[in-house]
Point group: C3
């Protein structure tokens, strides 16, 4: 496929809904902060012999982000670092957020107090921004509220969901998906909450309360996002295989459930998206970290999953390079994959353009009901 | 590789043994029946916002099946639907079965009373057709028969196997492969059968009786097919990883065991095909659903599995498009994969042609002993 | 990428450190010995209907090894067999070891008394060779030694590690990675050792003693190699998913841990290499067996793993073809993968050349501290 094809032009220009993202940095940091932010899985500082630049993500930053800062592609890491330091974190954020071609940011506010909030992301990017509420954060606040835990949880959630467009759970980091995920009875919730409050209501690991939160979210009808697969090493990756969700999904009703990141379980996630009318999947985080290997990942998302069930996100957090790079690598990857399908005669170009629209914004606009909303 | 190469011509013309297939529809249905039949995993009707045409399989129907009905490739779904309605289900079946280039159909008769039986498939296609007996169906009939369950099972199986060429188990749908799969003692079988009969002999989930059936099949010496991986959501997909079969396979003797479908466990299945002289794998169902991504799947089948252990099937069921499409997508995928090996110099063209013959029919003819048989 | 590119020339000429290999045969054998050696997973002789040549590895032998013996590529198996018989096993070994372009061989001496030892590998190849000590072998010798088991284990290990460069464990073959891998208390070790000695100290399966050995190796600071994934069918492949090592790795300190082979868990292994400063992965065994599908595997190694954490090995054992073929297929695969990254503009050629050096020898030289060592 030539780069001047209608498909190539369309991919280049299509507006994206980034359906799962976090805040970007607003204040200056040292180079180690930046390099560590190019490694998702490691929770410790990178070893002395290592560099965050020597990875697919690091190479992609030098390839795709450098030109956005007026530098040549594949520029030396030191030159790149000097340039972003010179611009300052806010200007870097403004440049990258605007270059991403994103119309709407759906922001998980559950982490990163030191990063841009929803309103700031909107202002810096010139796009709309909406909140996604993290259930484990609601739980922590309910534990600190006076009175009955369940009532407090419901009230906090209800209140935040008047403006928020969806919920998010990091159950994958709190023991994973294996085991019972049915709704617990009220008496068990009360007991578990009392126990947790006695223990100081720190980081929530109690399965009863985690299950309670999931089922409260299902009742809302707004999309429930689940962290799946790739993340930092606190995640029990082998227990976050989404196939462990089979029973939960069989009883999840009509509320859209969005499987995030998915790597290396994207084939399993795609299967679930075919198996359940309310299951979706996205490519966030993974596409950034895979860099030059991103097209192969995007191709796998396009296996078993019906085309009306696939979403875009960057999962950007920290350096605004990640908010931009998600979009740049997605456009690049979709171009190669769908262009390949068209070149081989498997797909028509018109179909490819239509599927781009579904994945870029159509599916997300439908399930988050963004049309006509104001942020 | 040019399409006029000897390899391309050979792939185009080679006769296939479809070693695992079901009946096709013979009577007219509405469009929702057809669209739902383009989604394997979902057991509910497709959601209103969805369409079975917006998937790799749906795009493949429009690309490969449309020309067989005299329509342009990538034709509009409505035009396609109108054309197949106009022809009628039996004429559609005749057209697609004959266009598949299949010499022998090995038919799992365990589902679909409303579809073509073995003799009708033979007649409509102009090829030979043989039965594969589903063990769980034998169990259900044995439960309904008078007298000792084990004796009834053996007698029904013996009788049907006088003409049938193999057996099939859907253990993956009945709890999966994890756990003990040794042969149970006769006393346990009798107890389990009594319990099941008391419960009304509905859908078999009893592990003792499932294990009994598997070991009866092993004794026959004829190939035993196992559903592995991809299927509908009643399947416990995480428990149908074929690696859970390791202990069973270690004690399975010489009876050929064929791992069907395999996705997303095709690498594990290929490993088992290398590890055990009696283990085989095939590509059925998966190749249809992967559409434009089928070549990548076929390439993975050609990793650890020895070339004398890989088989072809479509697993077609319902719309006869699936019986044809399996063959069309297999030819297309094998062409791209082996053509790529030849182009890169990794394989000689003569080797590629020989391996095509093994996979298309040679291996199946050997293990099912089809040479000289009459259907 | 043209084959005359700087990258192609560099890959062709770069010296490799084969960081995990075994001895090669030195004495003549019959053709079945050779064909069985082309199947890793099967522990029984190949079936009559099968041939070790009809596999990706078999095709690769005919493609890459035949020219090294003065034969045309894709030569007939019988001609190949006649030629290697005519040369004799030692001359075959000398030819292939020298043709591999390997500067250093790190030799696991835990199997194969009938194959070349460390000194012979060095002499035949003209390169350096160092020992890697297998922990389960140390355990067996400690069980046979008089007195306290733990003391004997430590003394044998200490003594062998004065010259050896690393250790190796085959825990994957002794129950796998699932379950508790913490260091056992001394009293439990003494009890377990007494029990094992009473039972005759045959093949070690006791988890307490296996865990004891791992933690002794961690204390040494020299790299600890772990068999992961693909191997023969005695391996509990589903229990050798390296994600089961998460807890062990979280408490493994700074000792380099090298995940060997990895297939089909290379994505999981790459994730761990990103998540832990001390985790590495390699491609040994897998690249040989994947043949024409090796480039796809090598590409997957280059996903989540930082580039300073990826190593080369052949895992050659038996026919010296395997010691050579690992290198030939690695060069071929790296060329296609990195050449593809450069052609698509994702990587610069200079970066690709630098990453080749890291993987070929730089990373291994660093962690095994080979610079300036004498063998």
């Amino acid at each position: 496929m030539s780069d001047s094809s209608a498909l190539a032009r369309h991919i280049d220009e299509v507006a994206l809904i980034d359906q799962h993202v976090h805040g970007c940095w607003l204040s200056a940091g040292e180079r180690p902060r930046f390099e560590n932010a190019l490694n998702e899985a490691n929770t410790e500082p990178l070893a002395d012999f290592d560099s965050g630049f020597d990875s697919q993500l690091g190479f992609s930053v030098r390839n795709h982000c450098a030109p956005a800062l007026g530098l040549p592609r594949h520029v030396d890491p030191q030159v790149y670092w000097d340039r972003r330091s010179e611009l300052g974190e806010v200007e870097v954020a403004r440049l990258f957020l605007r270059a991403a071609g994103v119309s709407d940011w759906l922001v998980d506010t559950g982490i990163g107090n030191a990063t841009a909030d929803v309103a700031t992301l909107s202002e810096l990017s010139g796009g709309r921004a909406f909140e996604v509420v993290r259930l484990e954060q609601v739980a922590e606040r309910a534990a600190q509220a006076p009175g009955d835990y369940a009532s407090a949880f419901k009230e906090i959630l209800r209140s935040r969901m008047t403006t928020a467009v969806g919920t998010k759970s990091i159950l994958a980091y709190r023991g994973g998906f294996e085991g019972d995920l049915t709704e617990p009875p009220a008496s068990q919730v009360a007991e578990a909450a009392a126990r947790w409050r006695d223990q100081g209501s720190t980081r929530l690991h109690d399965r009863v309360l985690l299950r309670f939160g999931l089922h409260q979210a299902l009742r809302l009808g707004k999309p429930l996002q689940l962290h799946v697969g790739f993340g930092d090493r606190d995640c029990e990756l082998h227990k976050s295989n989404p196939l462990y969700l089979l029973d939960f999904l069989r009883h999840s009703g009509n509320t859209p459930i969005v499987l995030l990141h998915c790597y290396p379980y994207e084939r399993e996630a795609g299967y679930l998206a075919q198996a359940f009318n309310n299951v979706y999947l996205d490519c966030g985080l993974s596409v950034n970290y895979l860099g030059a290997r991103g097209p192969a990942f995007i191709a796998r998302l396009l296996e078993m999953a019906p085309f009306r069930k696939i979403l875009y996100s960057s999962d950007g957090f920290g350096p605004a390079e990640l908010h931009f790079l998600g979009a740049a690598l997605w456009r690049n990857g979709i171009h190669r994959v769908l262009g390949g399908f068209v070149d081989s005669g498997d797909w028509s170009e018109a179909d490819a353009i239509r599927v781009v629209d579904l994945m870029a914004h159509g599916n997300a606009a439908r399930i988050y009901r963004l049309a006509g909303r104001t942020d």
